[in-house]
Symmetry: C2
Subunit: 339 residues, 2 copies
């Protein structure tokens, strides 16, 4: 779908205009669910997930057949502050690894039957260090939102957003503090493997960014421009594009959820087409999910990013739809109801 | 594999002779895991699951390609006591539904690429009501164990055990009380949908069974013979057969885990080749998992049986092996390590 915005204000207008789910499809899916050959409620959360998905697809007997995973990669000026356990060149090295199929996300997409597209966002031109200046200019931010929007395949029936970017848990933590309050210490975690001193430094770096940008952070989109990386902006753009095209989204971990939270705080309800794929071992992710009142599908201690936890959840959602849309009804199977 | 026992005592000897995992494969899988292109530990539980699976398959780079699901169905004399919300004929009706592909387990096996086999165990000849007599004779019990053993395909590389049997949460609850202590009220739950009065009646029925069989329940296999249904015995036989053939097992919900617990209490360590697929909404299942010190992979509020929660977990385990065995190493991908 063509990108319907050129400026940040036009993007904001897209959020306000976002479509909702189809009420008739929800009602029909609920009616079908009540007749399937199982005790009422016996498929637990799978039932609610299937009905939610049917609503967004406007199809009471939908299936998931064309899931897409997008991975956005960006580099971060704030890495100069020593906030990551890995050197910045790992971002481009891992992009190369994604491109030849060697990373976790490649295997997970294969296992889920998902098509993976990888988008490197100016890796040779890191964002500015947010302790010194806004990470992105308005033009850079709008371009990253647009790149994310364009990355979504209109033919997809499910979207997973992943990321790669050395330093981006620092960006996500600063953004989380801007959106939901608290200090660097409340949101800084180990990322790819910091020790205690590293986490303390990261918290101080976040606090410095929060202090520099001050009141400007009250606007969620402006907070993303000032603290976020390009890959976070692209995720926000992709999630908004999915909504416009009635494509449900599985959110991944801390970074992807922080990017998503920008939309929800900017336009409450903007994540109604999203579900949390998992709860990451990065502790701040659980805090974000609580703030967003989202219950993750999986809780397996992953903390890799790349979209890995969300990709792992694709098969759960596929299975929910397979049950909903494939099972026989009591009448079809001639099974007796409750005594 | 030919059934290596004819009597219960011979089955007991099989449990004592069970093989362990391959230590060399575990060491090699751990070494490989440490070199994959991700921060150490970043795939969380997937890493431990992959290494565990490789050990049992004696292959440090194993994959899951031929999963099998077996569903055993049985009828229960104790249903005469009014312990189920559904009439007993639903067992055979659901078996027919499994055979034509209309049940949840059919869809879940399709979504997981698992082959499903369904085994109806003398549905026209329910076990005896355990409040009046042992549910099975010794010959019937041994035959059900053997049927379960034979149901396992030696060519499978993963096994899921499911069940169908109106009344079988009552059997599983009585068995759990026999194995781990407590009264009917501690283990009775809503099953397919009992109200409070129904749960109270079910607890009294369980207590009556515990009182009738008394000290004979101290032997776990004897407890299974006296309280269990044929499908529970078949699950126990299948789990033991899988162990003998180095096939890892995903346990399902309350009934399957109760049957498995018989093996663990009869021969500690007998479930080392098993993992808990999920935590059921039937509250007693969580208690059983705690008693067995097993951490479920999924926790999605399912309470259907049929092997549904375990089948849903197949793709998680497949994905764990896909990452472990398919990812590039740091050296292969020329990705830099920690700074």
């Amino acid at each position: 779908m063509q990108v319907p915005f050129q400026t940040i204000e036009e993007f904001r207008a897209c959020l306000a205009d976002a479509p909702g789910p189809d009420a008739d499809a929800i009602a029909a899916a609920e009616a079908r669910n009540a007749q399937l050959t199982k005790p009422a409620g016996a498929l637990g959360r799978l039932e609610a997930l299937a009905i939610w998905y049917c609503g967004w697809r406007a199809d009471p007997r939908a299936r998931i057949e064309r899931p897409q995973a997008v991975v956005f990669a960006g580099n971060h000026g704030v890495v100069a502050q020593g906030v990551s356990a890995y050197p910045a060149e790992v971002t481009s090295q891992m992009v190369a690894n994604f491109q030849v199929g060697g990373a976790a996300i490649n295997q997970l997409c294969d296992a889920a039957g998902a098509r993976l597209t990888v988008h490197a966002l100016q890796l040779d031109n890191p964002t500015d260090d947010f302790t010194q200046a806004p990470a992105m200019s308005e033009a850079e931010f709008a371009a990253a939102l647009a790149l994310g929007w364009e990355a979504v395949d209109p033919g997809a029936d499910l979207l997973v957003c992943g990321e790669m970017g050395i330093g981006n848990t620092t960006s996500a933590a600063a953004l989380s503090a801007a959106l939901f309050g608290g200090t660097g210490a409340d949101w800084a975690g180990r990322g790819t493997g910091l020790d205690d001193d590293g986490v303390a430094l990261k918290a101080r770096v976040i606090d410095a960014g929060l202090a520099l940008h001050g009141e400007a952070l009250a606007d969620p989109l402006e907070a993303l421009r000032r603290l976020g990386g390009r890959e976070l902006a692209a995720i926000a753009g992709a999630i908004a594009a999915a909504r416009a095209q009635h494509i449900p989204v599985i959110l991944d971990g801390f970074i992807g959820t922080a990017a998503a939270a920008v939309l929800e705080t900017a336009a409450p309800g903007a994540l109604a087409h999203c579900v949390a794929g998992h709860r990451s071992a990065e502790a701040a992710h659980g805090k974000l999910l609580d703030a967003l009142q989202m219950e993750p599908i999986l809780d397996l201690g992953l903390r890799l990013g790349e979209g890995s936890g969300a990709a792992l959840a694709i098969n759960i959602l596929k299975s929910a739809l397979a049950c909903h849309s494939g099972m026989a009804t009591f009448a079809e199977a001639a099974v007796s109801g409750k005594s």
